[in-house]
Symmetry: C2
Subunit: 129 residues, 2 copies
């Protein structure tokens, strides 16, 4: 049976309350301010848990370590290849539905059943032109 722990709550809350997409290391550094004895392994362990349960999304960065997104509502990411900022882009309901239909159609081309879709656009963000 799964047990409640202060650490897991803290990690969960922290990710839900921030809109950036920190690496495990960044999250760890920030959490130490609130809980100085927390260990980096605990952070990684709980990130795995939270990803498996679907509460958190793990994002594979093109340049750098994995990053974590506390927002599990479907959305798109834009990764700036200059400043490395990851932007969230939320589509309206209509566009989301269209995209979903597309994903299903595309998957059916190879007889596959889709579960999660990752759409990442890379390029220059507005601040880095």
């Amino acid at each position: 049976m799964k047990k409640y722990s202060k650490q897991r709550q803290l990690i969960y809350n922290s990710l839900k309350n921030r809109t950036d997409h920190p690496t495990a290391e960044q999250l760890y550094e920030d959490l130490k301010l609130e809980m100085p004895k927390i260990g980096i392994a605990t952070v990684y362990r709980n990130l795995i848990e939270l990803c498996e349960s679907g509460e958190v999304i793990k994002l594979k960065s093109l340049n750098g370590p994995d990053r974590y997104d506390g927002n599990n509502k479907p959305h798109i990411h834009f990764e700036c290849n200059k400043c490395n900022t990851l932007y969230d882009i939320f589509l309206n309901e209509n566009d989301l539905k269209n995209m979903d239909d597309n994903i299903n159609n595309i998957s059916s081309l190879i007889g596959a059943k889709p579960e999660k879709t990752f759409l990442t656009i890379t390029g220059r963000c507005g601040n880095c032109t």
Copy 2:
């Protein structure tokens, strides 16, 4: 000036002649059959080159090391989360254009200039249902 090397040619040709998406390690093992003295560092170095020149695409896998795709025409990937196979999915010209327009529109939402887009769908492939 860039120099021609047997190794670079071999790596390039190998990636262009296979349609799977090998990891650097897999590629290395295969290349050793043809060129037993090739080093893993040479493989990595040339993969970096080939990716920078746009000849090859580096794919971030959700479970496992990076994989390399010798096909640089725009297409989509489906990653099976059971057998880890990466499938290519090619869209027709029309769908590609629509997608491209969408990417531009989406990027403009945050004032960004898109360069490359990565669309990966995960789920169960036809063989793993």
